[in-house]
Symmetry: C2
Subunit: 193 residues, 2 copies
DNA sequence: TCGATATATGTCGGGCCGATATATGACGGT
DNA sequence: ACCGTCATATATCGGCCCGACATATATCGA
């Protein structure tokens, strides 16, 4: 599923500009589910307009730059539903924090401690954003509450695990006084299965 | 963190070929944490060799094509530790399943049911792979067990939520007899905050 | 013998990210 | 009054990475 399709999906909830779509990815409906940069969103909207899947309307604003508001056409809506019905790819995760934990035995302890604190802060922030999204009046739909509940269940489980086991991870890291010694030590060529 | 750095990290556990690194992404150490295609791995190993971070050794095999086995140099190891200590980016998730649930009210019920079944099957398969990784003799390190435990906690939470609430989601989808009627219906232009 | 599967490496087009440029106006500090 | 910072808003561009394809060897079952 490409960015064009995802943008079209967001527009089923109502018209929006490229900037507003970016904000929805960051703290709105798609928080923690999907993500796209301006460098993807603006070209995607241009191509959607060329294909007749959206129409563009320029809107003047007072005290702010003008914006281009895009609306989904019936053709675009039908195409989105067809694309989403065609099948979905498995979840794709990219966790640099998980990589850091796997190599914790190579990192100074204070670095690992900082990473754990940072990760816990991000989990908490994501939970707050989900709470806000649930209070949103547009979330009366049971299916949006399902998506929010699934995210919250995973975040709470991750938080509970991290807070109860972080000492084990930090103990595996390199203690401050051994830091230089370890970096100079020869590497045992351990084979992995 | 680019693919080069992640490949270098895997090589701290011992020498490996590009093909073996791909398998480690799929069902080994990095299962559910990171992912890379052959189109990224092979050029990454070539560039790592050019930079002197790995050395390459060609190995003949009986009953199989030859392979190129890469080993991390001390320079490459030091560079990897420095890169990983420089800071980490927040987790990035791309869940087409979550998108499908958000738009469940636009999809036929049988499509949603199939997607839920598929997602549950993927969660279970990921749990099995984590169990195998934990039994692996190389996972005596407490930090690798931490990463596995974190993944398992999130997967179990997601599974429990899906199995107890899937009926709510499926009820929000389009019932079979109303399918054509809904697609022809006019779209109310609902604004999102 | 034919196709399927597994092992193994590589290229290439195109999609997407991150950085950068540009512009307007609000707000607070000196 | 002036300046920097922040938020709003759009757009481009280099480069990284994915997915598809090409290529090759060998085993196994139909």
């Amino acid at each position: 599923m490409d960015i064009k399709t995802v943008c079209a999906g967001l527009l089923t909830f109502g018209e929006a500009s490229g900037y507003e779509i970016k904000k929805l990815f960051e703290d709105g409906t798609f928080n923690g589910v999907y993500d796209a940069s301006f460098g993807s969103i603006y070209p995607a909207l241009t191509r959607l307009a060329e294909e007749g899947h959206v129409v563009c309307r320029e809107q003047e604003q007072h005290g702010r730059p003008d914006k281009k508001v895009y609306s989904l056409t019936p053709k675009g809506r039908a195409h989105f539903v067809a694309e989403l019905s065609r099948g979905i790819q498995p979840d794709r995760v990219r966790s640099e924090f998980a990589i850091a934990t796997i190599f914790a035995h190579l990192l100074p302890r204070d670095v690992i401690v900082a990473y754990v604190d940072q990760q816990i802060a991000e989990y908490r922030a994501a939970l707050v954003r989900l709470d806000e999204a649930e209070c949103d009046p547009s979330s009366e739909m049971t299916n949006l509450q399902f998506a929010i509940g699934l995210g919250r269940a995973q975040l709470n489980a991750a938080l509970a695990f991290m807070e109860s086991r972080r000492a084990l991870l930090e103990a595996a890291a390199v203690p401050p006084q051994q830091e230089t010694a370890v970096e100079a030590r020869a590497v045992p060529g351990v084979k992995h299965a």
